[in-house]
């Protein structure tokens, strides 16, 4: 019983962080997008990384 309670708390904390920190995720993935991808609608949640090169 106590074990389940801890599990629920942990999952709850992860969900809370996921919702609360979504804007941070958005900053990070926007930094990886091309300009066209940033301004497209509907927005893309998982940007492709094929255009990223190390030059």
């Amino acid at each position: 019983m106590i074990k389940y309670k801890k599990l629920i708390l942990n999952v709850g904390a992860i969900l809370l962080a996921a919702v609360f920190l979504f804007p941070i995720y958005w900053i990070v993935i926007n930094s990886l997008k091309t300009d066209a991808e940033i301004f497209q609608f509907p927005p893309s949640f998982f940007p492709g990384t094929s255009h990223l090169t190390l030059t």
Partner: protein
């Protein structure tokens, strides 16, 4: 005896000089500026004339000032309310004992650490009616039918900024509350449990009274930070639409740097300063009484 006194002055001299130069001088200069006729004309001639509180009279008779004052109070009240309520809930949640409590508590602090200008730009993007992700998600879950221009509607713009500021303020409140909660000895809760207290009773009778000093100082800090908010509003709406998000700091900026009426801008800034000073002194007096 006299020599001893001198040594004391010598030790405190750097701090006093520092404060006088970097804090005292700007404040006094600002007060002098607010009493003078200071605009482009007086810059041209190089003379500044004391004009018998004309700046203050004009500012008080300006309808924009009244609007800004009302909106500042509105903004501050709701920001503090939401920040405190959610901060307390988060603090209580992360004060429970489970493995991820501390890592995730630390992670949530990130939203407080990023610069306010970045936050403003980010939320401006996310709230945009054409490409904003918040509109997209709200439409997707069926909460609204079509995208809303959160920052361009007069009745929604201030609420959107309150939302953003709350997002920034929650972790700050949370961390101050959790640190003071963790200093409460566990025995208190144990003996309360033996006496048959429920969770809510424990919260009201043990937790809240014991973290009261932290709550007071946190509300005070929050009040000062929120009352003089500038960067968030300047970046997100710039005071628009139709002055709907104009607050005292943006009015002061506008008077000084787009109308070049430095005297009136300084007058508004001084009014803002005076209000915060009164609140701070009130807080210090209250703190003194608590200690005694």
């Amino acid at each position: 005896m006299k020599k001893k006194n001198l040594t004391g002055y010598f030790y405190s001299a750097p701090a006093i000089i520092f404060m006088m130069l970097l804090v005292g001088y700007p404040i006094i200069y600002n007060i002098l500026l607010s009493l003078q006729q200071s605009d482009i004309m007086s810059f041209n001639s190089g003379e500044m004339i004391f004009n018998n509180f004309d700046n203050y009279k004009q500012v008080f008779s300006d309808p924009l000032f009244a609007t800004a004052l009302r909106q500042t109070l509105f903004f501050t009240f709701f920001c503090i309310l939401f920040q405190f309520a959610f901060g307390l809930l988060f603090a209580l949640f992360f004060n429970l004992e489970f493995k991820l409590a501390k890592p995730i508590r630390g992670l949530i602090l990130v939203s407080w650490m990023i610069p306010l200008t970045v936050t403003g730009m980010l939320f401006k993007f996310m709230l945009s009616p054409s490409i904003g992700v918040i509109n997209y998600m709200l439409v997707a879950i069926g909460f609204i039918k079509e995208p809303i221009g959160w920052l361009v509607k007069e009745n929604l713009a201030l609420w959107s900024i309150i939302f953003t500021n709350t997002w920034v303020g929650i972790p700050f409140n949370m961390i101050l509350l959790t640190t003071s909660m963790s200093t409460i000895p566990k025995e208190l809760y144990e003996s309360a449990s033996i006496d048959g207290a429920t969770g809510f009773t424990k919260l009201v009778k043990i937790t809240l009274p014991l973290i009261k000093p932290a709550i007071m100082s946190m509300l005070m800090l929050g009040l000062i930070y929120t009352f003089k908010v500038f960067d968030l509003i300047f970046v997100m709406t710039g005071g628009g639409p139709v002055n709907a998000t104009e607050v005292l700091s943006t009015v002061s900026y506008r008077l000084s740097f787009s109308l070049f009426n430095f005297g009136q801008g300084a007058a508004v800034a001084n009014i803002l300063f005076g209000m915060l000073l009164i609140v701070s002194i009130g807080y210090l007096i209250m703190l003194d009484k608590e200690e005694l």
